[in-house]
Amino acid sequence: MESFFGRYKNPLVLMAVLFVQVIGLATQVKRPSDPKMPNSPGTRLIRVWAVTAFTPLERAFVGTGHFVRESWHNWVDLHGVRKQNQELQAEITRMRMDEIRLKEDAEQAHRLQALLGFREKFISETVAAQVIGTSGSEQSHVIYIDKGSREGLRPDMAVITPDGIVGKVKDVFPLSSQVLMISDRDSGAGVMMEKSRLRGVLKGNNLGEMQVDTVMADEKVEVGEQVIASGGDRIYPKGFPVGTVTSAAPDRDSGAFLIIKIKPAADLNRLEEVLVVTKMADQTPAAATNEGHTHAADMLEQRLPAVPKTEPQPGTSAQPGGEKKKTAETPEVKKQGANSTTPQAPSAVKPKAPPKQPGSTENPPQ
């Protein structure tokens, strides 16, 4: 008997180790996946230990890298700061002109939306986070961020940059979180073509490419068309940029659907800082009222036969545009630690408004 185990010791140990791992894998596969508890206790324990052990090291590396890079950039930037200042002044002037024009359109849109009773999701609170790691595997398009349950993060929160959506929080640890990117094959996001308003589900693949394959082949989708979040998944804020159509061709297998390839709006290959949307607010845009001024938009509204005129609410007519105190500056993803920021709703959904009061971290729904 002893000679048998001695002779076949290596294969026996191999089979034993494989058996244990296969049983462990089968247990995970059999367990029904709960969206609120994506990992079984055993696997979660392994993940928590591994991620918690590596997170301080990753933070230290990222912090050191940022310090060195910013020190260098600060020194280099001084050379061109005068010229850059002049350019920025010119840009501010141009943007002010644009803002006046956009404000007109925005106020008109808000009035009409209020009259029609639209209720939409707006970003109310965000937490800025730094990307500190990846899965290290091409089969798993996930990133790790340096904010976790201590900062109030929970699974299924949207992760964005000012350019577009990035993914959603999948697993939360005390000091870090795992984010499943929209380019992963297991992810899905409700999207909509900005012009044609065609809806579909965005999915990724093993190469990190993104595509929509639920649009009928007889629909017309133009290359270069912007793709925005439809809000149907109740994760990503409606109207937020997703990407641009790079190609649209009928599926070779069935031919019934289009394969629409999407280039992501956010640069998913070079993510350094992201925003986690920790709070979404259901908001009904208030009707804008103006005293003493008559805008072209108001005149247009009066001429619309199907739109009844509303009575202004007491106390809401002090400022032109009842929406002005809501939403705010363009989301700036900077080193703000766990400070909340209030990014602006995307222009496709909600136009720009003046900056909110400094120090405020939350926009109460109106």
């Binding site: 191999l14 791992q21 591994a50 991620v51 590396f61 790691g133 990846t134 899965s135 290290g136 996930v142």
Partner: protein, 174 residues
């Protein structure tokens, strides 16, 4: 690049040893680099450093049990950072660790040519095992991309030639 894969008797093959610090720190460093560096340089994700380290230690030690246990631990740790089931890489690297150490007993894998070919072979086998586990145990069928897999196998083979020379310096002398 010279390619010399020669059959050698057991007595001729040298069994290398490593300090416990190297045995622990190098696999951990490999996993850390694998999950950290692609944040800035996405291209680095084509490399599978934990696999290369598993192959190296298995071949150098020439002990199948040590090789398979190294593969199991490194693979499981690697799985912990993904979002898939834990065990996919663990099983695949266990088998690779066992086979690499068994191969190290039979043939000389010290020269760059044989290391290059050996790594390409084990990388492809690793991908086949991963795909097999996905289909048979998890029930997920992923499209097999031959071109991409061959290119990444070549890239890993080239990296292995350089990496293994560096790791050779960590052997315990005498």
């Amino acid at each position: 690049m010279s390619v010399a894969v020669t059959y050698t008797s057991r007595e001729e093959i040298e069994v290398h040893k490593f300090s416990w610090l190297v045995s622990v720190a190098v696999p951990l460093a490999a996993v850390f680099i694998q999950v950290f560096f692609p944040v800035r340089v996405k291209f680095l994700m084509v490399f599978d450093l934990p696999l290369l380290v598993t192959i190296y230690f298995a071949v150098a030690r020439r002990k199948p049990i040590a090789g398979l246990i190294t593969g199991a631990l490194v693979g499981t740790l690697q799985d912990a950072f993904g979002h898939h089931y834990i065990g996919l890489n663990g099983i695949a690297k266990t088998i690779i660790g066992f086979l690499a150490s068994s191969l190290g007993v039979k043939i000389d894998v010290e020269n760059p040519g044989s290391r290059f070919l050996m790594t390409i072979g084990f990388y492809l086998l690793h991908q086949v095992i991963l795909a097999g586990i996905s289909v048979a145990l998890v029930g997920v069928r992923e499209p097999w991309m031959w071109g991409h897999t061959l290119i990444t196998a070549l890239a890993n083979g080239l990296l292995a030639v350089v990496l293994f020379v560096a790791l050779d310096r960590l052997r315990v002398r005498g």
